[in-house]
Structure formats: structure tokens, C-alpha cells
Amino acid sequence: MRGFVFVALLASAFESRASTDPTSIQLFSVDKSAQPVCLMGRLHAVPRCSGSACGDVQALTAEWTFRGGSAEAQLSLRPEVSWEVSIEGKGCWAPPLIIAGGNNGETRTAFVWPAATIAGVFTMQKGETPPKELHATVEADDAAAPGAAIPQTSLDCSVEDTGWHCAVPATKVDLRFSADGFVPRYVWGLEVPAGKKKTLDIALTRGASVSGRVALSDRRVPLEGVDVELRPAGFAATPVDERRISARSRKTGTAVRGFFQFPSVDEGTYDVVATKKGWSRATRRVRVGGAKESDAGILTLPPLVHAEVIIDPALDTKGRRWRVVLDRDAVPMQHLLPLADKLAAVDGTWRVEALEAGKYRLEVFDGGGVAYERLIVDIQPGEPSLRFHMDALLVSGVVRIGRDPLAATLHFLNQQGSGDLNLISNATGAFAGTFPAAGQYLVEISPKESAQRLRTHVEVQPNAEGIVKLDIELPGGVVVGKVVDETGNPVSAGVQILPGGGRQPMSTMAAEDGTFRLIGVDRGDIVLNARSLPIGESGPVPFTVGDGTSEPVTLTLHPRHEFTVWIVSPSGQPVAGAVVRFNDGHYSHEVIAGPDGDVRFTVARGIDSIDVVIAAAGFPIRMMNLPIAADMDPNPQVSLGGVSALLVAKVAGAPPWPGIRPMPGNVNLHYLPELFASPMGGPSFPNRTARGYEFELDPGIYLLCPEPHLPEKCFQSTLAPGTETIVDFTSSRDTESKK
């Protein structure tokens, strides 16, 4: 029985081998010169498998010789594996042929180029160690011979000390050189004659880089001369932000084949923006981490587009034409006119040409200026027209403060959909208008007789007749008083009801005689604060609001409490340059420690403690509560710790930010961004790495809150000295791992 099995297996193997028809490899010489340097060689076929997967499959060779510019050789390639066939020969260069498994007696063709050599030395910064290996790839289009393009192929290169050399095809080629830890270098359109050597020195610099290509959408043709900008990814909300981002941005242009490269790029997230007149821009976000090349891929410039809007009904409720405004979907850095602001035609159509493809803000107003639509639209080539059906609701009502009617300007903003309009209430508090949609509206009320602004929410819902009756009742509490300095002189200062205890802040400005009036205040306990930059602050003043007008309150401004805290290392050396953030319970501040580790604090009287975060390079972040009293140490000293614990927080990168505070103690919860060591005006998110946001903290027990407004989700974590704790706030259930 055993003998029978052996014979059967042998027969099977024999059948398999016997069925292998030779694969014919036809070679064509690209060299058409009278005395070609590449005349003959051999094929070396290696199975693309390893170990037992190869079975008894062996490497094969076959000789070939060019006759009349072509050659043929045959290889009995077993079909159960795939093969890599090297085409070798003195003075010859060819990319390897890959022949997939299943091949059986087929014919393959390949082009063979005459070979040339490139060689040179590495140039580096002084003291830099040259790389042990050089990785190089070659690529060429088929200009040398029709159909003879060279796909991206690795080159054989040798390195000895600072010298290197590689064999290349003798045609116009694009080359990429890379060495571990160094920025890759590209050479475009290099041509070395057959059998010759070209010297090419490679300048190596350490660091990360960003590269990519730009092409046109219609032809997919790589494009030379396109402007490419590398911008740190960040939301620019103010002109200062924009200047900051722009100042860190870098520009370049595309080379042949549409290639661009930014060497020596800092770690971070960037937007690569390619622009060319007459085409829409293309943007790609890239992350740069470690000394690696980040490939932005091919940025394809789409053609310009048009936007078309069709509105039904074609005219508004009063027979007026609709007005459509189209603007960039970006925070305006300065007052710019919108891209388009014009009336729709009487048939309700509106159109604008030659726009860059992308996102825009689109607004549709009735003839009276009420916003019926306000949305972000993504306009791309071939998109259908935007169609809007406009409903209208008749709204009337009365606004009262306490029991009294209020004459005011009312700004309604729909929180759920379209609707943004201003109405005016008269002396009897009555107002009326047309709303584009039902829903919950935020109402900002500017009383006629006051500089104060009040806010409330209302529900706009039509009754059975389709009419909306909307009465707005504001709290009737009124706080009156006077602001004076310590000598009793009146001061025109800002007066605020401080946030906290479920109250939203409210503020007004005292008149020249120091008197102020805050209206629309809910009854109950509040905290008042008056503030004048040159004179000082009243500090928090508790006050109880009743119905109607309260008894007058006097807020006395005092010079602020000023003191210096000295920040020192564990050995008592001053720590210069520490970023110190503190919160006095109402406002956040940032100061930098001077050369002597000195930090100057200025706080209002009546504030008995401040929460402080100290971030200094080389020291763990300290979170602490600093008591403030008249008899406090005039020179308090904070000694930073030595050993730290690393917290790696994986967060979504946008609000709500997780919160953190040390336990035990009376430090309040801080949002993670407050721990960033970078000062305001400095680079964004320096703590962000490929792993998340990393913080070196004082070891200890911390309370971590994925969403600070949901205390039930908070959990404790012990950060031991010298350890690393990874907390993933992005998963549905926050997870923690330790090393």
C-alpha cells in the first residue's frame, strides 16, 4: 500500500513537470547605434517564493544574443509559482520581468537598454555619518523607443564610505535617491551616454519631507510650473492666525512631470495646495512624522465650474426678486466683497460662472433682506442645479421685560435650519414679520434705551391657521449701581455678571458718572465684577437679584494684587522660559517666566486662589492651585519635579476637548489644550505626534474626563514615574494602556 502511494505521487509530480511548456522571452534592443555596447547576456529566473512554498522549483538561466536588434531565449518556468526574470549582460540594462503563476508556454517581450553609470559622493553637514545603503529608483517615459517606457524600477547601487555608484539605462531618466533618515533627492531628465559615467553628488540633509505631483483633471498630464504651497493645517479665525499660518507656509513650483518637494519639514499636519490660473485648486492633507518622506500623491486640478440656483416660487411673498449671495467658505480675514451678490431672474434662476470647484457659502434672501437659506455648498464639475423651495410663516408677537413692553431690535437666528432676520419692536413691544421656517430660534435683543444685549430662545411654530403668535418674556430683574475708585470718584468701567452657577455672563458699560443698569436679570444670586484697565477691578461681588429694580450697589475698583512667583528646578536653579497659564475663576491668562524664573501675576482683589499650569521644556507639567492672601509669602517659589510620567492622549483633535486635573487637591479641571507647552502665538499643537497628544506630567493620580461637562464619564488614572500611559478618548468606551 505504501509503495502504491509513493508511485502515485511520483506520477503526479512527473505529470506536472511534463506539462510545463517553455516560456519564450523576446528581447528588443533600444540601442539603434552602429556599434551597440549591449550585445549578449543571460536571463536569470528566480521563483518568487520561499521555503516549502517553492517545493522543488529551482532557479533557471538561459543565454541570449542580439541579432538585428532582437533576441529570443526560452525558460521552462514552472506555472505553480510566479517568477522574477533578470535580464543581464555586459553593457546592458533592463528592468526585471515579473511573470505571474499560471504561465504556461506564453511569449513575453522586454526592452533592453545600453547601460551607463552614475556615481558621486554624498555631501552632508559636518560630523554627519554617511549612510551605509543608498536606495535608488529609475523611471522613464517611452521617448527612447515606442512602448519602451521604464516603470519605477529599483537600481543596483553600491556605497563605499562617502562614495556611491549605480548602473542606469542610457536614456533620459528620472531618478529618486533615498537613504534612511535623510530627505530623498530627485533628479529629473538625466541622460548619460551608453557606456559612459556621469558624476552626480547627492546632498543629504536629515529630516522629513513632503513630495507629490500635480496633474490636470482632463488629461491627467503632469504639469510643470504649478504653484504649490505647504501650509500648516490649522483653523485661521483671525488675521493674526492667518499671518501665523502664512508665515510658516512654504511655496514651491512643480518641476518636470509635475513633481514638487518640500525638504526639511517639521513634524505636524499640513495642507498641500496646488494652484494654477484657469483651474480649480487641489488640496491634500498630509501628516509628517519622523524623518520620513510624506507622499501627497497626485493632486489633480479640476476645471473651473459654474453655480446655478433655481428658486421656487420665483418671487418672494411680496412679489420681489430673491437675492443670492455666494462667498468663500472661509473665515474672512479682512472685509472682502462676496464672490457674487445679485438678484435672481424673475423666473427664479441665478447663475455665476468660472468658479473654482470647492465649498462655498450660499445665502438666499427675500426682497426685504430675510435670510431664507444659508448653507455650505460643494460645487463640483457636472453637478446639477441647486433647487430651493421657499416657505414663509407670518409671525407677530410682543416682547416684554418683566411686565413692561420693550422697544428693541430683535435678531432672530434659526438654530436648526434657515432663518436669519432682524425685526423691530415698537413702544408697545409689538413686532411682526415673515419667517422662512419653523424651528427653535436664538433671539438677540438690543433694547432701544440700553447698550446691553439680551439673549433668549423661542420656538417658532404655526397654529392651525398657519400663523405664528410669538410672545417673548424676559426676566424683570434690574441691577442698578455705581462704579467708583477707592477715593469715591465715579469711573466709567465695564460691569459684568460673571459666568458660573448656571448663569451666562451679561455685561454693560457704566456711564461717565459711574452709574450702570443691567436689565433682564433672573432673580437669584449673581456675582458682579467691575473692571477698568488703568484703575483696577472690584473683584467678585456677590449680589442677590429680586423682582423689579434692586437696591443700588456700589462697586469699588481696587488696584490689582501683583506678586512674583519664582520657578525653580529640583536643585533650586531658576527655570527660564516656562509657559505659565492661570485661571482666576473667570478669565484665563498666560505669562512667560523670565531669565530668573520669575513670573509676574496680576489678579483682582477678592480672588483667593488661582489655578496654575506650568509647562517648561525638560520638566514635567505642574498643575496646582495657588492660594492668594494679603499675608501670603511675597516671594512664593514653585519647585518643578524631576522624573515625569508620560500621558499619551488620543483625541479627535477638535472640541469637546477632554479635561484633566490632579487628585487629590483643589485644582479645577483643565482642558487638554491648556497643557500645551507652546505659548499663544507660537506653533500650534507641538505636543501632537503620530501617537496622539503627549504630555510629560508630574507623576500622581489624575482625574480624566472625556467630556468635561459630563462628570459621570470621568475616571481616575495613576501615572507612575517613568511610565507611559496611553488613553484613547476617541473610542466609544475610553480605553487605557500602560507601559
Binding site: R244, I592, P595, F619
Partner: protein, 133 residues
């Protein structure tokens, strides 16, 4: 401390049209105050591979003297005018404090490119603009 200032290139000859040597650093300036006879410069950021970065300066460093002289300029503009005398190729000797350590850094100012000139003019305009309230 005065308003944050991005300073990629430095002033030259108090003329906005000419370009100074390029150090490649952004800073905030703290003039002498609160009993300190000397002011100091807080390094906020460094241009990648710029002269300051190549010389070993780090964001967060506190510069306490320039070419051996303490920093006693009344405001940022005065400091910029001092720095404007640095031309391309000049070596600037800085004493710094880095956390609890002190160090000396020598920066060789580079010749400013066109883009750096533009960035400098922007910085100059920002320094001259009134501080926001």
C-alpha cells in the same frame, strides 16, 4: 511682554525697503520692568533649517544678551532697530537661558531671500501697529 511678533527676518537700517540679515527666529520681547534692569527675549519659534535653528537655538529659550550687551531696549521697535544692524554673514553672539541651564549660541545671519524680506516687513508693520485692547 509686548504683543507676539513673528520675526523671520530682522530690520535693516531702519528702512523698510532694505533687507537685513536673516536669523530665522520668532520672539516676544519683554522690556525691563518690575525691578529688572534688563529685558529679555523669549524665542517662540524657529524657521526650519534657518540660521538660528542650525546654531542650536530652541523654541522656549530666553535670550539675555546680544553680543555681550544686556538687553535694555524700551520697546520692541527699539530692539528691532538694534537688530537691524545685523547684515548677512555677521555672527551674532547670544547668551541664553534654557530652563535651568545657561548657554552661549553663535548665529551666523544669512542673506535674506525675497520672501523673508516680505515676512520681515510684515513683522515690522505688526510691531508698529497699536497693541490690541
Amino acid at each position: 511682554m509686548t504683543a507676539a511678533l513673528l520675526m523671520l527676518a530682522l530690520l535693516s537700517n531702519s528702512q523698510a525697503s532694505a533687507c537685513p540679515g536673516w536669523l530665522g527666529l520668532g520672539f516676544r520681547y519683554q522690556p525691563p520692568a518690575h525691578g529688572h534692569a534688563d529685558g529679555w527675549i523669549y524665542v517662540q519659534r524657529l524657521a526650519p533649517a534657518g540660521p538660528a535653528e542650525r546654531a542650536g537655538l530652541l523654541a522656549g529659550d530666553v535670550i539675555t544678551s546680544i553680543d555681550g550687551q544686556p538687553i535694555r531696549y524700551v520697546d520692541e521697535i527699539s530692539l528691532l532697530q538694534r537688530l537691524s544692524r545685523i547684515s548677512g554673514g555677521t555672527v551674532v553672539h547670544l547668551n541664553i537661558r534654557r530652563g535651568a541651564r545657561t548657554a552661549a549660541v553663535n548665529i551666523t545671519a544669512a542673506t535674506a531671500s525675497k520672501e523673508q524680506c516680505v515676512a520681515w516687513r510684515r513683522s515690522f508693520d505688526m510691531a508698529r501697529a497699536p497693541a490690541p485692547h
